[in-house]
């Protein structure tokens, strides 16, 4: 072995081979591995090697502690499970015993050997190679200290839906400042659009409005609605955030929210935001009745002042301005966008979801057939404050449907659109079935592939809907058409009947079920701009567009970027209780950081050896976190340790070898390669 750093006799390594019951010992000859380490790796500094049933047990940990004390170990290798499970455990053992925790290493011989190989001899040989590689690596480890950064107590919450509101309230209630940024003109998010919530049938507004009001009035919550985060700089503890406030054309400080301007505005347009396209609003409008803040917003795309009414652009009716009773006038036609710069220590992203565009499935006829609606349209229709005053009617606005088909999984669980299950549509469809039945007495058919009701009291609600007499047809709807198949079918039905063509898979029959109204349970999709938003905040999206958690199971709130957390549907479809829980959980994580005052970061970081740096700046553009900058006066590049996330790309790219990647240095990796290939017989060089 031609390693740069010879142990020179002073390093004393202990190797521990775990049986993990029979998990490892059933396939790998653990005694043989321990003997190999003790005998063959003696010249590499291994002074003792043991095998033990469960290294992670208290007894196993004590074994190491004892050896450190009695055998004066300086480095420790544990051959057991994946470091993702127990690296922290064994680092802790070292730390308690006075050995720098970063002088320990794990060799994964369970996940990467015992569980994936059946041939015992081959598995044992591979385990030995891995142990050998890990011993070489640990010899090259440097003692490290965790990096400490101070945490600014102010928190940014992005998204004012239920998850964001919850997070903001939790942090504010604990006594810390929160900046809550919402893209729309009011807090509330999608939940504000719903009528009732499953499975309890609470009125969505009744349970949401108090939270919106509390967030709006909280002295610690600084609200920026009709605003977007434009730029994020810095790192955990001290982010600098630029918020862009879009012009509302209404002075927030003067306006009293009396609503005369809205009343007097003569321009009526379809509200395809809050009313999901089935209601109208004015050119100056309230986002909705309970909006927080209680301020109207003016839409320059439809206001006659901007699009040009009588007298051309700049003319227009100006009725809002004329009738505004405040002094000075609240209407500000010349308002422009503003930028606000803020300092925050942590960021919670609760940016939510978009509804699948049902027009993408032409055979379902949405947009073509008048009486095909989306779930969101029906939510608005059911809502007493909605465009129909809570009446469920056909597109004609008059007649109630006598037969309604509800189609599940629209745009979900389908390789052509989204492969994921949208998680809430089964329950939403059941709820809508119940509401339609209750309001109209119509025959209701639910067309489903599987009914998924895995929440508290969810299946009980399904039972209740069965009691209501709602029909269930198991089959993914093939098409919805207004064309009768033949004169006989036409004769049976009235003009305008819709036929839901489906295979009733439980009966094994193709059926055409005539209905008056179809409701498409369109699924949840990632926000269309999620990739760009992810880039702004330095977090990653999956190819499907949902944000990626640090760990899907064990750390679903954190992201790969320290100090940036996600809550609610931004990481995938969730129902209201889950979104609320995540909002609280994200707040708890942030409060934890704030209370600590400073944060210890993993010291896996890159750093520049200035003496070797030639100032070529190749590394400068490579860093995804903008951690590398060029210091002009010294003509070298410099890495900000707090910004660096330790990916090592710059280490690999530096032509001078001037960048050191702590924890994954060239020396460590080279040594590990040598150790791993210790057993490989190389052909003698050609004579």
């Amino acid at each position: 072995m031609a390693s740069d750093k010879q142990p020179e006799g002073q390093e004393r390594i202990g190797v521990y081979v775990c049986h993990c019951g029979s998990n490892i010992a059933g396939v790998v000859d653990v005694e043989s591995v321990a003997r190999f380490a003790a005998d063959d790796l003696k010249d590499r500094g291994v002074v003792l090697a043991r095998d033990y049933t469960f290294m992670c047990s208290v007894a196993g940990q004590e074994l190491i502690e004892q050896d450190i004390h009695e055998q004066r170990l300086t480095r420790v290798v544990v051959a057991a499970c994946s470091p993702h499970l127990h690296e922290k455990t064994f680092r802790g053992v070292c730390e308690r015993s006075g050995v720098n925790p970063y002088l320990s290493e794990m060799a994964s011989i369970r996940e990467h050997v015992a569980w994936v190989h059946a041939d015992k001899a081959a598995a044992t040989a591979k385990a030995k190679a891995i142990v050998s590689g890990t011993v070489e690596r640990v010899l090259q480890n440097d003692p490290l200290e965790a990096i400490k950064v101070p945490i600014d107590a102010q928190t940014l919450v992005v998204g004012g839906g239920i998850a964001g509101i919850q997070a903001a309230l939790e942090v504010a209630e604990a006594g810390y400042d929160v900046v809550l940024v919402e893209r729309e003109a009011s807090l509330g998010g999608h939940m504000a659009q719903f009528d009732k919530t499953f499975p309890t049938l609470d009125c969505a507004a009744c349970i949401l409005t108090p939270k919106m009001a509390a967030a709006g009035a909280h002295p610690k919550i600084h609200l920026y609605t009709w605003s977007e985060v434009e730029k994020v700089e810095g790192f955990v503890g001290s982010y600098t955030v630029t918020v862009r406030k879009k012009p509302r054309y209404v002075d927030e400080d003067i306006c009293t929210g009396c609503g005369i301007c809205v009343e007097k505005c003569p321009v009526l347009v379809v509200d395809d935001k809050f009313e999901a396209g089935i209601g109208y609003r004015k050119a100056i409008y309230w986002p909705f009745a309970q909006a927080v803040p209680n301020l109207p917003v003016l839409d320059p795309d439809t206001c006659t002042y901007y699009v040009g009414g009588k007298g051309g652009a700049g003319g227009g009716c100006k009725a809002c301005e004329k009738f505004c009773p405040t002094v000075p006038n609240s209407i500000k036609f010349d308002q422009t966008e503003e930028r606000v710069t803020l300092r925050v220590g942590n960021i919670i992203l609760a940016t939510g979801w978009d509804l699948f565009d049902a027009r993408r499935i032409p055979q379902y006829g949405y947009g073509r057939l008048a009486n095909v609606f989306t779930n969101l349209e029906l939510e608005r229709m059911c809502n007493a404050a909605g465009p129909t005053g809570g009446r469920v009617v056909l597109r004609d606005g008059q007649n109630a449907p006598k037969r309604v088909g509800i189609v599940h999984c629209v745009g979900s669980r389908d390789r052509h659109y989204n492969r994921h299950c949208s998680a809430i549509c089964c329950m939403q469809s059941l709820k809508l079935a119940h509401l339609v039945k209750e309001r109209t007495g119509a025959e209701v058919y639910n067309f489903y592939i599987d009914i998924r009701t895995p929440g508290k009291e969810y299946d009980e609600f399904y039972q209740r809907v069965l009691d209501d007499g709602v029909h269930f047809v198991r089959g993914k709807v093939a098409e919805i058409t207004d064309v009768p198949f033949d004169p006989a079918e036409a004769g049976r039905e009235v003009e305008g009947t819709l036929y839901v063509q489906v295979e009733d898979t439980l009966a094994g029959l193709q059926r055409r079920i005539p209905v008056d109204m179809v409701v498409l349970s369109a699924g949840l999709e990632p926000r269309r701009d999620s990739a760009a938003v992810g880039k702004t905040f330095g977090i990653a999206c999956s190819t499907s567009g949902w944000f990626i958690e640090k760990h899907a199971k064990m750390d679903p709130i954190a992201t790969m970027t320290e100090g940036v957390f996600i809550a609610g549907c931004a990481a995938g479809p969730k129902d209201i209780p889950a979104s609320v829980s995540q909002g609280s959980a994200a707040a708890a994580r942030v409060l934890n950081y704030i209370r600590q005052g400073e944060l210890a970061l993993e010291p896996v970081r890159a750093s520049v050896l200035e003496a070797q740096c030639s100032g070529c700046r190749i590394c400068n553009g490579l860093c995804p976190f903008n951690a590398i900058s060029f210091v002009a006066e010294r003509q070298v590049s410099e890495i900000n340790a707090a910004l660096c996330q330790g990916c090592g790309t710059c280490v690999a790219a530096c032509p001078a070898g001037a960048i050191q990647g702590t924890g994954f240095s060239d020396a460590q990796l080279f040594a590990q390669i040598e150790g791993l290939l210790r057993d490989v017989q190389r052909e003698p060089e050609a004579a």
């Binding site: 569980w115 994936v116 190989h117 390669i673 791993l676």
Partner: protein
């Protein structure tokens, strides 16, 4: 079962570089799911496939490995945003370099596996082992690893 006359079949040794977030976890998942694959690959964990510089690959080959597998997150899913694209570009360039060294480019394989793709990762390993078996032993005489970093300025971007 082999008769005395047949020589031991060639079992290649392959070094696999895996990233901390996707492919190493995919390997963990393959284990948890007890998906079997050939024991010829020995894994090294790095934080990101963007860390793999050509020197590491050449080092492995010169130390006796018959092949090198580089596995990262899927393009677009990198936990460091887009560093795996850098791995992709370096791999392309490295293959040209290998050809100049007289080494079959197929000995260095690039694969993507998300943390959820244990089965895919196992499949990639099996395919890699077959690929290298077909090529036979590398027998690259031990030689010092190049002092400077090969083409670092070209591979940087």
């Amino acid at each position: 079962m082999s008769t005395p006359s047949t020589p031991t079949p060639f079992e290649p040794v392959i070094i696999g570089f895996t990233c901390n977030w996707c492919s190493y976890r995919a390997a963990d998942l393959a284990g948890t799911a007890r998906i079997k694959y050939p024991p010829n690959v020995r894994l090294i964990r790095v934080m990101c496939s963007g860390r793999i510089d050509p020197t590491l690959v050449l080092k492995a080959l010169s130390e006796g490995a018959d092949g090198v597998l580089i596995a990262g997150c899927h393009p677009g899913e990198c936990h460091y945003l887009e560093q795996n694209y850098k791995a992709l570009r370096r791999h392309r360039l490295l293959q040209k370099t290998l050809a100049q060294f007289g080494i079959e480019p197929a000995r260095v394989r690039l694969a993507w596996a998300s943390a959820a793709e244990g089965a895919k990762f196992a499949g990639e390993i099996a395919a890699m082992v077959d690929q290298v078996k077909a090529l036979g032993p590398l027998n690259w005489p031990a030689r010092p690893v190049p002092e400077g970093r090969a083409h670092a300025d070209e591979v940087a971007a």
